[in-house]
């Protein structure tokens, strides 16, 4: 599978280009939007802030890409 979403994508771009990500990441404990604005930084940084391991980040990226495929 070609990975469209990578861990380096900024949260701002993720929300804009893949809006379904907000709900998915919320279930993982990551709030992409606080005070009505996207948080700054990359997907990887947001995951690390929530103490995700490297494997968990990889899994999250994989699942986001799968969701993207389903949403197309």
């Amino acid at each position: 599978m070609i990975m469209e979403i990578t861990k380096d994508i900024t949260i701002e771009d993720l929300i804009e280009d893949y809006p379904f990500s907000v709900k998915y990441l919320s279930t993982k404990g990551i709030r992409c939007i606080v005070c009505g604005e996207p948080i700054w930084g990359t997907l990887e940084e947001a995951c690390l802030e929530k103490s995700f391991t490297e494997d968990e980040i990889e899994q999250a990226v994989k699942e986001l890409n799968e969701l993207n495929k389903q949403n197309k």
Binding site: T10, E12, D13, I15, V22, K23, S26, R31, C32, I33, V34, C35, G36, E37, P38, I39, W40, G41
Partner: protein
């Protein structure tokens, strides 16, 4: 009321707009295009071309160059430009206020109020420009003069949020420009049109006064283009950021690494205390404005009401009744009858609904609202019925700031010190209020053992600050102060000077050093 097209035409907003200016010159950038949609009906208003990394470099270079000239112009002369900007804003108050409403969704009265804040801070800065003074101090050495003075600081980066899309820029810019600084503004990507309109309004003033390009800069950009690099840029002398605690913490770390200066205006979790001695005729309407004004999207929105058990039932009954009236006035914010407009986007609605669910899961009780409002004109799903929930202060959801109209009612018993303890028992520290006619309760609330917030009001709500006082808060609110009082000092470099006008060289502390 003007039509949408009339508003846009008056403010010089086209279908596609350039998103970068250095004052009077606009640049056709090649970044992504951001489309601005109105939360009123979900329809596209117009779009904006974003700046790129190269554009950012150009702007900062231009700003640093302009600072060399601007800092040497006398402060009252600099402030004359600010005075004229205030006049221009008066001329365009109605269309700009309407665009704020159109793009952000706050009711038109609040849109006008936002522009009035811009005007007020311009007026304030004009006077302040003649009083950006330091101290003359008493030297311990004979024939020495000891003074403190304030010098222009440099480039001020301003990051603003969608909820006050233009007022916060004005709070910072009016003072910074009068202080001899130059500004680089990154507006919210959700409200770029109000930023462009503001720059359109002021550009004639800049032209007529020959203000150098690079003094007033504005660039619409993604955080990947103007994010961490902006925060970490040593050429930015002060970074003023209004936004969430999450973004503020990131900014503090990055700016802190270079020992730069920040002015942070972050989240609030503001409470109103209602004591047994409160005048409910004041407390109810004031608190309702605090909870549902701007659809709960102010950083000073009242999030918690701490009510004494003796007046709890009476207060709740009246408060819920007031919400029943408010519910009838949810609608198009351009309509003069409307009191509550839409939330900014569907994500905010989801967070609102999530909070309503969470408070109940934690054991709270929903007393009113919490659903998506239905009706003609409300079909886009961004209008919600403001929620009231009974809760405990320690609930996780109560400790967080939900940027939507949900308020938590918390009962207290005993003395006012118990209510103050609840008020202070949250991570944030922006605004607070007490309703009481009892002098002892009021003064305790305002004392060293009182509210730990940056703003503490008596018989006035948590939101709706005047520009004359310093605005900001403690703890996770960030500690910054902007707007009135002595907030101007953050935009200036403090300098202590000793002048020896004797022919001797006495050292401080009487130290002997004979060569």
């Amino acid at each position: 009321m003007m039509t949408k097209q009339e508003i846009l035409d008056k403010l010089g907003i086209s279908d596609v707009n350039m998103g970068l200016t250095t004052g009077t010159k606009w640049f056709d950038t090649e970044g992504k295009t951001t489309t601005s949609y109105s939360p009123i009906d979900g329809k596209e208003i117009a779009s904006v071309k974003n700046g790129t990394i190269d554009d950012y470099e150009m702007v900062i270079t231009k700003a640093r160059e302009a600072f060399k000239t601007w800092r040497m112009i006398p402060a009252p002369v600099r402030a004359e430009v600010v005075r004229q900007i205030g006049l221009a804003l008066r001329e365009y108050k109605e269309p700009l206020g309407a665009l704020v409403t159109l793009e952000m969704g706050k009711i038109y009265q609040e849109g006008l109020g936002e522009v009035q804040e811009m005007i007020d801070i311009c007026d304030f800065a004009v006077g302040q420009a003649r009083l950006m003074n330091g101290f003359n101090l008493q030297s311990e050495r004979p024939m020495h003069r000891l003074t403190e003075q304030y010098q222009p600081l440099g480039v001020v980066g301003i990051v603003t949020s969608y909820n006050f899309p233009v007022a916060v820029w004005a709070w910072n810019s009016a003072l910074a420009i009068a202080a001899g600084d130059v500004v680089v503004w990154k507006p919210s990507s959700k409200t770029p049109l109000t930023a462009i309109a503001t720059m359109n309004i002021i550009q004639n003033v800049l032209k007529e006064n020959n203000v150098p390009e690079g003094v007033f800069n504005m660039m619409v950009a993604k955080s990947s283009v103007m994010g961490d690099n902006f925060l970490g840029d040593k050429r930015v002398d002060l970074l003023s950021l209004t936004g969430s605690t999450a973004v503020g913490k990131r900014a503090a770390q990055i700016v802190g690494k270079r020992l730069g200066k920040t002015l942070l205006e972050l989240g609030g979790n503001n409470a109103v205390i209602v004591t047994p001695n409160a005048d409910l005729k004041l407390a109810i309407p004031s608190t309702v404005f605090g909870t549902v004004g701007t659809a709960g999207q102010r950083c000073t929105t009242t999030r918690r009401i701490i009510i004494h058990e003796d007046v709890y039932d009476t207060f709740v009954e009246k408060f819920v009744n007031a919400y029943k009236s408010v519910e009838k006035k949810i609608g198009n914010p351009l309509d003069s009858n409307t009191l509550v407009g839409p939330l900014i986007d569907k994500y905010s609605v989801e967070l609102f609904q999530e909070a309503v669910t969470k408070v109940q899961e934690e054991g709270g009780k929903l007393l009113f609202g919490g659903e998506i409002a239905k009706g003609i004109g409300l079909e886009n799903g961004l209008y919600v019925v403001p929620a009231i929930a009974e809760a405990q202060n320690h609930f996780k959801i109560v400790q967080e700031e939900t940027f939507a109209p949900i308020v938590y009612l918390i009962k207290y018993s005993g003395g006012v010190e118990n209510a103050i303890a609840i008020n202070n028992d949250v991570p944030q520290g922006l605004s607070s209020a007490i309703f009481t006619k009892d002098l002892l309760e009021a003064e305790t609330f305002l004392s060293g053992m009182g509210s730990d917030c940056g703003i503490a009001n008596v018989n006035a709500g948590t939101s709706g600050a005047e520009i004359g006082g310093a605005f900001g808060g403690e703890k996770e609110t960030g500690g910054g102060r902007e707007s009135g009082s002595d907030a101007w000092k953050v935009y200036m470099r403090r300098q202590t000077s000793t002048v020896n006008y004797s022919t001797d060289l006495p050292l401080a502390q009487g130290i002997e050093f004979n060569l």
